[in-house]
């Protein structure tokens, strides 16, 4: 493996990740509402924006806490402020990721991979969705796989995260032709085909925010 010297990640990385996620959801709020309106109930954008706004506020009061602790707190905040299907799912994802990071002051690529794997596992465990069910899993799972593969191959983390973002966005596009089997869109049966999943779109935003946070 080539020994690439990477800047260590720390609490600032997490804070930046959350801040960039917040900015993304602010910007994409109405688009996500529209996506959810087409085959759901039109609240997804507002819910995500409310949650990450609360996370940024909560983290601001936690100067000095280790990154794992910040991520756990972010997850708890999402559970307590979002509601809907996304609240418990995203809350669980970040809490699990936070716990996986542990108590250290910094973390490196392999730990980040394990954290995201834990996040994905949490979502699948709680929501029961599989690949192809037209949910956030369809973006999150390929992203985690791409990251894990790239890091294992020893690629620089920035490149690995670029690959993860690309995989997430590819996963988002792949939801369009799917018929939903989980969540509200599944009520529509065949009418859910032809629409991009809102939750998957959000997952790609969160992965891209991570890529940007690490890149800084």
């Amino acid at each position: 493996m080539p020994a690439v010297v990477e800047r260590a990640m720390d609490a600032g990385t997490i804070a930046t990740w959350m801040a960039l996620s917040d900015a993304a959801f602010r910007a994409e709020r109405d688009h996500l509402v529209q996506l959810d309106a087409a085959v759901g109930d039109g609240d997804h954008g507002t819910t995500m924006a409310r949650g990450f706004d609360a996370v940024v506020r909560a983290l601001a009061a936690e100067a000095g806490a280790p990154p794992g602790r910040l991520l756990t707190l972010a997850g708890q905040t999402l559970v307590s402020t979002m509601g809907g299907a996304s609240g418990p799912l995203w809350g669980t994802a970040l809490r699990r990721a936070g716990r996986a990071l542990g108590d250290g002051p910094g973390f490196e690529a392999p730990q980040l991979v394990r954290a995201l794997e834990a996040a994905l596992a949490g979502v699948v465990e709680l929501g029961g969705a599989r690949l192809g069910d037209k949910t956030m899993v369809d973006a999150l799972a390929p992203a985690v796989a791409a990251l894990q593969g790239a890091v294992e191959r020893g690629e620089p983390l920035a490149a690995a995260l670029r690959a993860a973002t690309a995989a997430a966005e590819e996963g988002v596009r792949a939801t369009v032709p799917m018929q939903a089997r989980k969540g509200r869109a599944s009520y529509l049966g065949e009418r859910s085909v032809g629409h991009q999943d809102a939750g998957a779109t959000s997952a790609a935003l969160v992965i891209r925010a991570l890529e940007q946070a690490v890149d800084r």
Binding site: V33, A37, T46, T81, G84, R181, G183, Y187, L188, R191
Partner: protein
Amino acid sequence: MASAASPMRKLLNRPEQVVTESLAGLAAAHGDLLRYEPASQIVVRVDAPLPGKVALVSGGGSGHEPLHAGYVGRGMLDAACPGAVFTSPVPDQVLAATRAVHGGAGVVHVVKNYTGDVMNFRLAAEEAADDGIEVASVLIDDDVAVRDSLYTAGRRGVGATVLAEKIAGAAADRGHDLAAVAGFARRVNQRARSFGVALSSCVPPAAGRPLFDLPEGQMEVGIGIHGEPGRRRALLGSAGEIAGLLVGAVLEDLAPRAGSEVLAFVNGMGGTPQLELYLLYGEVERRLRAAGLRCARNLVGSYITSLEMAGASLTVLVLDDELTALWDAPVHTPALRWGV
């Protein structure tokens, strides 16, 4: 009126305050029955907790009024946890409500079967259990428009929720224990089925525009209560044809014994006035009678809604003597009141 034009035909201040301000208004109007706790965004029966009484907690996204906060009071809910519009409440609300009403005899959670409601209530129930509060969760899933299969999130909870909350609330008022009260709610769910149609879309305040476009002269068939499109779109039929559709869908799944006594609940989605709801009830009642059923009880009005959506749903509950007696028992809430 100097304020900027709003794209909605709604009485509100800022979209993100609709729910909290409406709850404050509800409490201002019905301070004899309930109080609103802004910190935890819950509505609690004014005299809660009642020692020794099983307590009922329900909740869900807002936009379905009077469900659930309008059913807090004597003989129905002890507390309601309203989320943002069409967004399940967070576990913190449910936990706060559960703690506020627990009178030592346990708490029933009436949960409509939506992914978000189920997960948020489950998280709260786990925490309540950690507190030593016994919680019995009852899942309501009466909507026959959705098939319960591996390919869906399962049937939605709709009209039966109102009936279950009324009947289980009466059981708790009569002193039944936790298992019995939960049992009555489950019995209602087992014996009730619903089906609905939309004649218009609705505008969630935060979205600011209709969730879907429905041209005049068409309807959405097999809708839920979240402004989502239905299973299919069809030409808008006459009230008679729509009654036939509703009764047919409900009875096909419910398959009640001929001669059964039923409660027929014709529910407005929020924007359909009483003139039409009673007309529809007449059509429904005739068809239920023709199917050999007797409408021993009925409920006609907008009791579980989808904001200002035009449309209606039918819920049929097969009664038995116990259910009828509990339905008739006194209830005193903002939205349902009799016998007191």
